[in-house]
């Protein structure tokens, strides 16, 4: 019984982790049809921002929840102005340019911080479930993923900002019709996507630590999850994460971590073959 509970928790945790690492990428892809291959480095930057702030005496929660998203969000807006802006409509070119950005960020952070930075310990201590112990912080991250999804849905559904965003998702010209310049929408979107990545990067720092190359561990999974999910930002990411995360955890428990990883990748390939536009490209087309 305890084991079943811990297994369920582990699946939730795996799904939440996919949701978290994909969300920033999904926002940018869903709204702008831009694949940001520097996404992993945005997460990395969030981690560095949180740790640097913390090491300089900022409260840990403040560092993770405020400093990290703010830093990366602003950085995202700068990137949008300097690079992305010139490449709209050229999906492959944006991928290449942001990939160049990702290399440059790795190099730059290595030069500034070196490859060694002291991490932060995970706060909140541990939880006991029957005979098992697990990090309370892990549970906290599951909650954060859920809150982000619900909040995202509420914003898109009920606010004027959400209306503009939904309009842009359907048709870029719609934003103009609503009296907002598409260029502003894109800048804000990219900023929000980047800020989300920064937030997640900050939140993950206590668990995975930060090194300049940590982004590589995230980008492929995030990329695959977002594309498998399809164009709908929230439901696409949630469904794809749910599916892939469950497969990964089940295979990891049953066999080995490698097999779990391979099963995740293979599932994504088969999924894309069956649904070439991603899950929400076929089903739930009207969802958010």
């Amino acid at each position: 019984m305890d084991y079943a509970a811990i297994l369920a928790l582990q699946i939730c945790s795996a799904v939440a982790s996919l949701v978290l690492i994909s969300l920033g990428l999904a926002v940018i892809f869903g709204m702008m049809r831009v694949i940001n291959l520097a996404h992993g480095e945005f997460l990395m930057l969030g981690g560095y921002a949180a740790i640097t702030a913390y090491n300089n005496g900022v409260n840990l929660w403040l560092a993770m929840l405020i400093v990290a998203p703010l830093t990366v969000g602003l950085f995202g807006i700068v990137v949008e102005r300097l690079i992305i802006r010139h490449l709209y409509g050229r999906l492959i070119d944006t991928m290449l340019a942001t990939w160049g950005l990702s290399l440059a960020m790795i190099g730059f952070v290595t030069v500034v911080f070196g490859n060694t930075v002291s991490g932060i310990s995970a706060p909140l201590g541990s939880l006991t479930i029957g005979a098992y112990r697990t990090g309370a912080y892990e549970v906290f991250l599951v909650l954060v993923a859920a809150v982000l999804l619900v909040a995202g849905w509420a914003v898109l559904r009920f606010t004027r900002l959400g209306l503009i965003a939904r309009g842009t998702m359907q048709n870029a010209a719609m934003a103009a019709a609503l009296g907002v310049s598409p260029s502003l929408v894109y800048a804000v979107t990219f900023g929000v996507g980047a800020a989300l990545s920064g937030l997640v990067g900050g939140l993950l720092a206590p668990l995975s630590g930060v090194v300049p190359t940590i982004g590589a561990a995230y980008i492929a999974k995030a990329f695959i999850t977002v594309i498998s999910g399809g164009a709908a930002i929230l439901s696409g990411t949630a469904i794809a994460s749910g599916l892939l995360g469950t497969i990964n955890t089940a295979m990891t428990f049953a066999f080995t971590p490698v097999l779990g990883e391979v099963a995740l990748l293979a599932a994504a390939v088969i999924l894309l073959r069956i649904l070439p536009q991603g899950i929400t490209g076929r089903f739930f087309q009207r969802s958010l």
Binding site: T116, G135, G209, I214, T256, P257, V258
Partner: protein, 409 residues
């Protein structure tokens, strides 16, 4: 200046790939008066955390040698190459060092893969090679000297120490590559030798960062202790997640690889982890204290591992060989090094073993405490028994391969 211009012309004429080196390296024009040696260490890319400290200790060793008047009346000039954690560049730089710079010796290589990339090349080009990293053992080749520790030297001592202290049920989580696979076998062997049992062994590719499922599997297995030969930046997540689950207070942990991780993790995460190495910064000798002080301050390296210390020992051992041979001729130096040369330095007394070309060294069991290692016990003069079981270069001087040591369990 004329020399340099001619160089430029020849390389331009060579066409393809000519610009790859050449004019940008500032060369000492009195080429006849220096004795060139090369270091190939990754100072960028994923392994730079190790490469940088190895470059620092190598530089220190060379400058010490030069301060005492150099070798054979010449100053030693160190040429550093950065293969950027990319095997392909090892091949290119090793060839360049051997055939273009005609160096007397190459020190370098961090992973076993990088060593095996350049070992055959350097043998073909008759250039002596020192590999200063702890590794899985088994290399048998008269052209190479391996100064790092191997599992038989370290795991035996560690297992008997920690099993006496903590219990008989062992759970192993190892990096999924040669070193991890072989070390896991040694762990199993010595666990059984000490009357215990390995309840499970899990292997993790070097880029795994999520250890959640494993931590739960470990709890289900209820071992007395964990042995963790994990490697690299991604695997550090294990120690964080282990501590976050509060497990570090429940089940004790020992490792053969937890080195620089002590700087990156926090004391709450790493206090109490037991390690075993051929060198620890906490070694309490005057030589070591001075050595640590210099590296920390002059080279700005926050923490050194066995790799850095053995690189320092390796360069000095080679220098001893050159002094004894009174030549940089490769065979003469090899014969001198085979005569049981020793170097006493920060890691204690190290002696090159003629049969295996591996290092006979002192082994230290330590405990991580507040970003440092405290030495718990020292085991002097450990011989490379694993490699010795498969390799005898006295008998078979033409041997040239890495044996996979068959560990009987």
């Amino acid at each position: 200046m004329p020399i340099r211009r001619r160089r430029l012309l020849t390389s331009a004429a060579a066409g393809l790939g000519a610009a790859s080196v050449g004019p940008f390296v500032i060369r000492d024009l009195r080429a006849q008066d220096v004795l060139k040696i090369a270091g190939i260490h990754d100072t960028s890319g994923g392994l730079d955390i190790y490469g940088k400290q190895m470059v620092a200790t190598m530089d220190l060793a060379v400058s010490e040698i030069n301060a005492k008047g150099g070798l054979l009346g010449k100053q030693v000039k160190l040429i550093n190459y950065d293969p950027q954690s990319n095997i392909q560049f090892y091949t290119q730089y090793a060839t360049e060092a051997a055939t273009k710079e005609k160096v007397a010796v190459v020190h370098g290589g961090i992973t076993s893969a990088s060593r095996e990339a350049i070992r055959p090349l350097l043998k073909r080009f008759n250039t002596l090679y020192f590999y200063n990293t702890l590794y899985e053992g088994g290399v048998c080749d008269r052209n190479i000297f391996c100064t790092g520790s191997t599992p038989a030297q370290t795991v035996e001592k560690l297992m008997s120490y920690v099993m006496k202290k903590w219990g008989k049920k062992v759970y192993t989580i190892a990096a999924d590559y040669n070193y991890g696979q072989i070390t896991a076998k040694w762990i199993k062997k010595y666990t059984q030798d000490n009357g215990g049992e390995v309840v499970a062994t899990d292997f993790f590719p070097l880029d795994v960062t999520d250890f959640g499922p494993t931590i739960k599997k470990i709890q289900a297995a209820k071992p007395d202790l964990i042995l963790a030969p994990l490697v690299g930046a991604a695997h550090i997540s294990f120690y964080r997640q282990w501590a976050a689950a509060g497990m570090n207070k429940q089940i004790p942990l020992a490792s053969t690889t937890f080195g620089n991780e002590v700087v990156i993790t926090s004391p709450e995460e790493h206090n109490g982890i037991h390690v075993v190495f051929g060198y620890l910064e906490g070694i309490n000798t005057p030589e070591n204290k001075a050595f640590v002080e210099t590296i920390h301050t002059k080279y700005n390296i926050p923490h050194m591992t066995e790799l850095a210390a053995m690189t320092y020992h390796g360069v000095h051992l080679w220098a001893e060989g050159v002094r004894k041979a009174n030549s940089i001729d490769r065979m003469k130096v090899i014969e001198a090094l085979e005569s049981g040369l020793t170097f006493a330095g920060p890691a204690g007394k190290t002696t090159l073993d003629a049969k295996t070309h591996h290092n006979i060294l002192d082994v230290y069991i330590g405990e991580a405490k507040d970003k440092k290692f405290v030495v718990l016990e020292k085991f002097p003069v450990q011989t490379p028994a694993d490699t010795a079981a498969v390799c005898d270069l006295k008998k078979n001087p033409n041997d040239n391969k890495q044996y996979v040591i068959d560990v009987k369990t």
